[in-house]
């Protein structure tokens, strides 16, 4: 037997998606490790007010929510480590995760929740003055701008909300908006709050062209897209909220990403690689919020649990010596009842073990056992599939196959005793 993996699941990322996945996984008694390079709560922890997470009538804060989910996950036994995942090896069995500090860890499944990072505009001055007045985090830096003027670039929910937060400190917050007067991408509730706030100023039809400053930000240059005019605006800080890019570089060539780098998942949050799941903002999806990130995390963890249980099932079935009948059936396929009956009869008459596999509930396993559709009966001899039966099932037919498999086993060289290696079994001759 190959060495058992150290973990049932390793979760990459400590935002709402990863933390929720770790919580669900640990609660399902999986040995779960969460690895995150920044603190608990991910991006959500960089924003102070979370007004729209259900269950908090007065709203909550990102850091508080992050800490609370982490505590909940740890209560169920999840381990949480501060580290960075550098690389995955998804080809081998078990899968491995290479980290900066903890070395290489082995696991049955992986749940990817690396989230996004703020998108940069790449205008002159932005890179050079980053950390010197160019900011992507209002709650981090707001204290420094009391009684100053600052600019916020962007006009979606995050931009306007963070701008509103900054008005508690700065004496003037200029929102630089690419749209014509009166139009913001932010939802109406947020838009109205912005228009009602006396410290908010709006610069319409404009884009940021350059950030100027010797050692720190001194002013910005805006371009008016309607008139082509340039405008210089003296500000002490520039806050940029123009969306996000997924932190999925370390996954390229490993799992399927869409053109923008987001992870492509199925409904059960499975990725293009079996046993690898994804959750949260890093996935291709319609709405990127804390509530949907948490929901993805729950789905991914339940799907990962199912995968782990199926792997364990396969291992027990294929590690047992002697003969065994695996009958693949489905409650939706009537003919499969006959197969179950025939297999059970044959098993009883010959003293062979029989296990039933509901392919409707375990589609993943159908693939691994290379059974297209139920019904089918597999004759397993010493851990390898010695025969695949299909067609009309009778107890006699099944017993006949069992006998011939066993005779062959006695006459010929013994069938190689393999570990759970399903590839090898597929090459067995079909009866």
């Amino acid at each position: 037997m190959a060495k058992a993996p150290q973990y049932d699941t390793i979760v990459v990322g400590g935002g709402p998606a990863g933390l929720t996945a770790a919580m669900y996984a640990a609660r399902a008694r999986l040995r779960a490790l969460l690895i995150t390079k920044s603190g608990m709560g991910g991006q959500a922890a960089t924003t102070l007010t979370i007004d729209n997470y259900p269950g908090f009538p007065q709203g909550t804060t990102g850091p508080e929510l992050g800490r609370a989910i982490a505590a909940q996950a740890e209560r169920f036994g999840a381990q949480i480590a501060r580290d960075e995942v550098l690389e995955l090896d998804l080809q081998g069995e078990p899968k491995t995760v290479r980290t900066k500090k903890l070395g290489t860890l082995s696991t049955r499944t992986i749940i990817l929740a690396p989230g996004t990072q703020p998108r940069t505009l790449n205008v002159p001055g932005e890179g050079r003055l980053r950390g010197r007045g160019v900011s992507y985090c209002a709650t981090c830096d707001a204290d420094l701008y009391s009684d100053e003027e600052v600019a916020v670039i962007g006009n979606g929910d995050a931009a306007v909300e963070e701008g509103l937060y900054l008005t508690r400190f700065a004496k003037r917050v200029w929102l630089v908006v690419v749209h014509e007067e009166g139009t913001l991408d932010a939802t109406p509730v947020i838009r109205e709050r912005a228009f009602a706030n006396e410290r908010m100023g709006f610069i319409w039809n404009s884009v940021l062209e350059e950030i100027v400053g010797d050692e720190v930000v001194e002013e910005i240059i805006l371009g008016n897209i309607a008139t082509g005019e340039k405008q210089r605006l003296p500000v002490a800080g520039v806050f940029i909220f123009i969306g996000a890019t997924p932190q999925t570089e370390f996954l390229a060539q490993q799992i399927e990403l869409n053109q923008s780098g987001y992870i492509v998942t199925g409904q059960d949050m499975s990725t293009s690689v079996p046993g690898v799941f994804a959750a949260g903002d890093a996935c291709q999806k319609y709405l990127r919020q804390v509530v949907t990130a948490a929901a993805d995390g729950a789905v991914a963890a339940v799907a990962a649990e199912k995968f782990v249980r199926e792997e364990e099932w396969l291992e027990t079935v294929f590690s047992a010596p002697g003969a065994l009948l695996v009958v693949c059936w489905s409650p939706a396929v009537r003919e499969s009842y006959q197969a179950v009956y025939a297999a059970e009869q044959a098993a009883q008459n010959t003293g062979t073990r029989v296990v039933k596999l509901d392919l409707y509930r375990h589609r993943q396993l159908a693939g691994r056992l290379q059974v297209d559709k139920p019904p089918a009966i597999l004759v397993v001899q010493d851990g390898t599939i010695a025969a695949r039966l299909c067609g009309d099932f009778t107890a006699d037919g099944v017993m006949e196959s069992l006998r011939s498999v066993q005779e062959r086993n006695e006459q010929c060289l013994p069938i190689e005793r393999k570990e759970v290696n399903l590839d090898a079994t597929s090459r067995q001759e079909q009866l």
């Binding site: 920044s38 603190g39 709560g41 922890a45 960089t46 102070l48 990102g62 850091p63 980053r130 950390g131 010197r132 007045g133 160019v134 900011s135 985090c137 709650t139 981090c140 830096d141 707001a142 204290d143 420094l144 009391s146 050692e215 720190v216 930000v217 002490a236 800080g237």
Partner: protein
């Protein structure tokens, strides 16, 4: 890490014989709070060569602005009353340590 404010910054930082590492932080800044354990670890390792202090920016904003702090957390290193290096962006324990090593060289 010793807290320093606008009243003793001059004496504790600019007037220090040893090089000084200043952590500009704020209780509102989650990233700053997350960074602290790493800084404390560095302090244990380097305290005989560098003095570690912290400035709460929410109470000493003018001082921070005068020291050209524009984003948090910001780690500034001073020697002989002058700022010799700083980590302003992507501030991690590792980034701070490599800056410390450069300054000590």
């Amino acid at each position: 890490m010793q807290p320093v404010d606008k009243n003793n910054f001059e004496q504790e930082v600019l007037g220090s014989r040893q090089p000084v590492l200043v952590d500009f932080w704020s209780p509102n800044c989650e990233k700053c709070i997350k960074l602290m354990p790493a800084l404390q670890e560095l302090e244990q390792r380097y305290h005989d060569k560098i003095k570690f202090v912290k400035v709460d920016v929410s109470k000493n904003r003018r001082l921070a602005i005068a020291q050209k702090v524009r984003n948090l957390p910001a780690i500034h290193l001073y020697r002989n009353g002058e700022r010799v290096d700083a980590v302003n962006d992507q501030v991690t324990g590792e980034a701070v340590e490599s800056t410390i090593k450069q300054v000590l060289h």
